[in-house]
Symmetry: C2
Subunit: 118 residues, 2 copies
DNA sequence: CCTATATATATCAGCGACCGGCATATACTG
DNA sequence: CAGTATATGCCGGTCGCTGATATATATAGG
């Protein structure tokens, strides 16, 4: 099992699947929206990542369908993926909070608030 | 210029330098503390990353000193590094908030089996 | 009719950050 | 004198991501 921290494209993929199942191309657009256009998921990243995440059991192929003569694969977040995403966001939230606290502390000329970490 | 999102070891490195300058080995311990022992920065990652970050202008060698007969290089966060860290934390905070919102939204209309807790 | 764009999936070579191991050196403790 | 802590550094290998390329259908514009 791989316990390495998720990279951002993977994190965004799981996030985009957190509320409802989506197909590959839809994920590209969804991630574009989530990140306010700052992240454009490449197809090389996307389809490789989808295969890998299915392999790891974090997502699954919900169904395959044909819309307007074009084939789609719809992916859904699996239970394991939900757990990983929840744990990852909680961990990241702590890191972000710590970074912001340190940046603020530095601006205040190293005056440390009570309870600051070593 | 590299505008790719920071990976976590790099993010933690900049975070650990955000309040005050530190030397390499001290950063390993600091990151261990920040992450509550969950991330153990490897020396292979550390010294390679430090060189790279100096090269990119995100950090700088503040000074070199000898303590107890052991040589140290003390690194400090550069202005560019401060900007990158601030931008990165803000971006990550938005992604984390979005992920948590979606996870909550899913729970709100999901059919939960009896006695099952997330 | 032809071309361009949007939709949609898939593969692959290459890059770069990270990992794990190894090497080197000093100081302290048992 | 061996082991642990401090302290820096190199290097081969792994693996996710990038950018390019390929394939195919539907729609809009010239």
């Amino acid at each position: 099992m791989n316990e390495r921290p998720l990279q951002e494209p993977t994190l965004l993929l799981l996030t985009a699947l957190a509320d409802e199942p989506r197909h590959g191309y839809g994920l590209i657009q969804e991630i574009d929206a989530i990140s306010q256009g700052r992240v454009r998921m490449r197809t090389g990243t996307l389809y490789g990542a989808l295969d890998r995440l299915v392999q790891q059991g974090l997502i699954r192929v919900e169904r395959e369908e044909v819309v307007d003569g074009r084939a789609r694969k719809v992916y859904a977040l699996a239970e394991a993926g939900r757990d990983v995403l929840a744990a990852e966001t909680e961990r990241l939230r702590a890191v972000v909070a710590e970074a912001e606290r340190r940046l603020a502390a530095r601006r205040a000329h190293a005056i440390r608030p009570k309870g600051a970490l070593a």
